[in-house]
Symmetry: C2
Subunit: 287 residues, 2 copies
């Protein structure tokens, strides 16, 4: 059996990038995985974990031979990194990212493709794996991180069908389910299913009196868990997607007000109905 | 070494009661653990799991020999069950519960002690283990459920010091940390650290569009996890503790409004500050 990819380059070998590398190498899906990053210590750590087979701090060297390039840098860096990569990568390379917002990234990359005076190589198609953790760093990387999780691809009318097919196979080979949405649909969907939960968890943690933390049981721990995520990363995500996030937050506030009125009035039937509605939706997803 | 208890009776052998039984028997802390319940099938399941050593559907039979009786029934049944137990238990028995609210339960039990025409036996002191899960039933019982978790005891001025000492040792022997609060302090604290997170998780789940559930990743799953808990149980808890819950909810709503204004205005510095405050508090608790 030949590997699906000859060389995969990963820009940013943290939790997500490291998990992609581990998954590719453990499953024999790529012969080489080149990790590209600024910090030699992080690259050495990725090499030791066998999440990559080679490393470099230079983008041009790292992507030179790659048939697939995965950009795993913070959302406000993705468009710039993709532009830098497309000046130096193979003409037939496929480039994707793992950013949590898409409309602004995809538009910036399309604009760069039109405006530039230099020829740009390769084809970009955005990805967003709905997997991750409040943990950061390659030491938490996990070859099965994407198992059973959704990955959203965000094709535009300009995306070649072959690129979408190959990236779909790529994510499926790591165990994910693949869903295709337009960049704008993506941003609306993840505002509800990812960005709002993070905001709620963070607000709940921030509103907790420190003196009561020794009493925290499983409920508080679970409900606030993602609030431990990287504050700078989430600041960028919230800012970039604020137009989609705001109506989701208002929808949540309306539901919260229904709970509030029911608690205030001691309305037993309403409380039961609200709790059952929440349970029904939560039960539909499973663990 | 002799066991700490001769016979422990557990009324209601579900997740919590079953975990107490398992913990006692695995650690050799009690010679006998009698499970008392209405459903023979649940009792048989507890016997098979070795969470209890004997079972009965009759309270009088179940508690007759017990030096410790733990009432693990829903909050609106606890006072009634304690009253029934105190008519038939040993004079020196210690009785506790695991209910999530305390002021109303402790008051009802104290009133029953004064009002009754029959003599009541044993001493009651309320407990609330800050452990549990959205799962229910003895099949999820776990001898280490209380390991490292807080258990709140709610003594009153009438509670004998020896009873408090013995119950403190009991929970510590199951791995818990023990905190003593008045029933009213308990209710205020758990409103913030347990009841509010459940309400928030439930409202978040209930406000999620079903069409987006296939995209749910770890963030949505963690933040809404406890919403899968028993709706009837939580209805009782919210109703019973609504006076303490309402100000906690309003405090959370104020924090949420700070997030909302920062998102609406694209206020980068405020978002960063809010996210960092949430992270700092969450990091203080750990996994």
């Amino acid at each position: 059996m030949t590997a699906a990819w000859d060389t995969v380059a990963i820009l940013g070998v943290g939790l997500i990038g490291g998990s992609i590398g581990l998954g590719l190498l453990e499953r024999g899906l790529s012969r080489r995985v080149v990790g590209i990053g600024r910090r030699p210590v992080a690259l050495r750590s990725a090499l030791r974990r066998r999440a990559i087979t080679a490393s470099t701090t230079e983008i041009a060297r790292g992507v030179a031979d790659a048939d697939l390039i995965v950009v795993c840098t913070p959302v406000d860096m993705v468009a710039e990194h993709v532009a830098a990569i497309r000046r130096v990568c193979r003409p037939d390379a496929i480039i994707t990212d793992v950013g949590s917002t898409k409309a602004s990234i995809v538009a910036a990359i399309a604009d760069a493709g039109k405006a530039g005076s230099e020829p740009l190589h390769g084809q970009f198609l955005g990805s967003h794996p709905m997997a991750g953790s409040e943990k950061t760093g390659v030491r938490f990387a996990d070859a099965s991180l994407f198992q059973g999780r959704a990955v959203i691809l965000t094709p535009t009318p300009d995306t070649p069908a072959t690129v979408q097919r190959r990236l779909t196979r790529f994510w499926r080979s790591l165990g994910a389910r693949v869903v295709a949405l337009s960049p704008e649909e993506h941003d609306r969907s993840v505002a509800a299913i990812s960005h709002l939960p993070h905001l709620v968890a963070s607000a709940l943690a921030a509103s907790t009196d420190g003196g009561q933390l020794p009493l925290a049981g499983g409920g508080w721990r679970d409900t606030t868990r993602v609030a431990a995520g990287d504050a700078e990363l989430w600041r960028q995500i919230f800012l970039d997607n604020r137009q989609a996030l705001l109506p989701c937050l208002d929808r949540f506030l309306n539901k919260l007000d229904e709970f509030r009125v029911a608690v205030r009035d001691g309305d037993s039937a309403a409380l039961r109905r609200l709790l059952e509605a929440g349970k029904e939706i939560r039960d539909a997803v499973g663990n």
